[in-house]
Each structure stands twice: as structure tokens, then as C-alpha cells.
């Protein structure tokens, strides 16, 4: 299961909307071994494409150097699909190389732009991709890690 803070969830969705119709991509880093996605890092899609994404090579090196120096790992690797469902494509699976990461897929196919109307949600799903095998997992959105797992009285849905 992926547990993610509301603010981080919203930031991923906002990035996906902003870059629509191109795919958006990025990482949420967290302390090694914690499984807590804490530091939101939107990345440039060097492919600038509606059907492909790739971190720029120099950006990738800088990202990993930075994470290494902070003892962080990519807890979430996210990207958007802008015309298809939020499910890993064959290309996604063939490139997936972080067996411990949560691969978050967001689809903006219905709602590229925020309208504020009812039903204006992008699809947000999370997967593990290990040795070519995809398994979907639940996503739990928490208001803040500070409040741990306690129930919240604020209902957003």
C-alpha cells in the first residue's frame, strides 16, 4: 500500500494537469527504508511528448547525487498518461528499474484542466513493478504524517 500526504498527492495531480497534453513525470523522495514519500521533485520530461517521458540525463545524475547525499531513495516514481488509463504501459514495464518504488500513474485523459465541477478528478493509481510483473496497490491519502494514522474529520470526497 502507498501512504501519501494530501499535499504531495495534490502536487502530483497539479503537475500532471499543468503539463497536459504532454506527459508529466517526477519523483517523491524519502529516507531510505522509511517508505515515506516526503520530498516532491517534479522533473522535466526531456521527451516533451504526449506518449513518452524520460528524465533528462544530466537532471537524472543530479537527482540521484542529491538523494544519495541525503540518504534518500525514490519512494515514488510518477508520470502521467494523457490519453489512456492510469495503468503501466509495456514501455513503462520494460523501463521500470526501481523494484522498491511505488510507480504512480495519473491519467488526465478526462480532465486535463481543473474545472472545479463535480467529477473533475484525475485517475491516480499506484503499482509495484518487479521483474516485469505489475501489481496494483491501494493508495491511502493522509492529511499529514504528523497525525499518523488517526482518522480525520475532514472528508474530501
Amino acid at each position: 500500500m502507498l501512504r501519501i500526504e494530501r499535499a504531495t498527492y495534490d502536487a502530483i495531480v497539479a503537475h500532471a494537469r499543468q503539463d497536459h497534453p504532454d506527459e508529466a513525470c517526477g519523483v517523491v523522495a524519502g529516507p531510505e527504508g522509511s517508505d515515506r514519500p516526503e520530498r516532491f521533485i517534479p522533473m522535466l520530461n526531456a521527451a516533451r511528448s504526449p506518449t513518452f517521458y524520460e528524465f533528462d540525463s544530466a537532471d537524472l545524475l543530479k537527482l540521484y547525487r542529491d538523494m544519495d547525499s541525503r540518504d534518500e531513495v525514490p519512494v515514488i516514481v510518477y508520470h502521467s498518461h494523457t490519453a489512456t488509463e492510469a495503468y503501466p504501459s509495456r514501455t513503462d514495464i520494460s523501463y521500470a528499474s526501481e523494484p522498491e518504488a511505488h510507480y504512480v500513474l495519473v491519467s488526465t485523459r478526462e480532465h486535463g484542466e481543473q474545472t472545479g465541477l463535480a467529477g473533475d478528478d484525475v485517475e491516480f493509481r499506484s503499482f509495484r513493478i518487479v521483474e516485469g510483473e505489475v501489481s496494483e496497490e491501494d493508495v491511502e491519502v493522509v492529511e499529514s504524517y504528523l497525525f499518523g494514522h488517526s482518522p480525520t474529520t475532514v472528508v474530501y470526497d
Binding site: C25, V27, M43, A47, T51, F52, Y53, E54, F55, S57, A58, L60, L61, Y64, R65, D68, V73, V77, H79, P88, S89, R90, T91, D92, S94, Y95, A96, S97, E98, P99, E100
Partner: protein
């Protein structure tokens, strides 16, 4: 002195979990051979049967992506730092 090589998570099964290993060689190709002799299987994850770097692996010597410096022919020397990172990409 030797050349320090950063190993990505997905290849650490070949290095007993180590994040960095050391090796020697005058070129990246020679270095990869040396690393593979110590940690069998690494080379096959980096280099294709045709002897080219895999498309989905990025290798850097110090700060330079070797795609722009001669790929496996890139010269390396003691004290260099080599970083291997899988591309983060998809469709």
C-alpha cells in the same frame, strides 16, 4: 587508487548489496570487464550482445554522460568516479 563505481539498486544483487565497487581499466569497456570479473553478471546488464551500452542505462564518468564522450571507448583513470543509473522513462 582505483575507479569508484556507483551501482544502482537494481544491480546490487550482483554486488552483494554494495552501493559502490572499485575497479580498474583505461577505458570504460575495460573497467566494465574488470567489474564483471569481480561481480559476474554486471556486464550483461550494461552491454548488449552487439557490444553497445543498453539504451536504458545511463553511465557517467564524473559528471559526463558517456553517450557524449565515446560510450564504452571513453577513457577513464584512477580517481575517476563512475555512476551507473537506469534511465527513468516510459510511455
Amino acid at each position: 587508487m582505483a575507479i569508484q563505481v556507483r551501482i544502482p539498486t537494481i544491480l546490487r544483487t550482483h554486488t552483494g548489496g554494495n552501493k559502490t565497487v572499485e575497479g580498474n581499466g583505461d577505458t570504460l569497456a575495460a573497467l566494465v570487464d574488470d567489474i564483471d570479473a569481480q561481480h559476474p553478471g554486471i556486464k550483461g546488464r550494461l552491454v548488449t550482445d552487439e557490444g553497445k551500452l543498453h539504451r536504458f542505462v545511463n553511465v557517467y564518468v564524473n559528471d559526463e554522460d558517456v553517450r557524449f564522450t565515446g560510450a564504452l571507448d571513453t577513457a577513464v583513470k584512477d580517481g575517476d568516479s563512475v555512476t551507473i543509473l537506469p534511465a527513468v522513462a516510459g510511455g
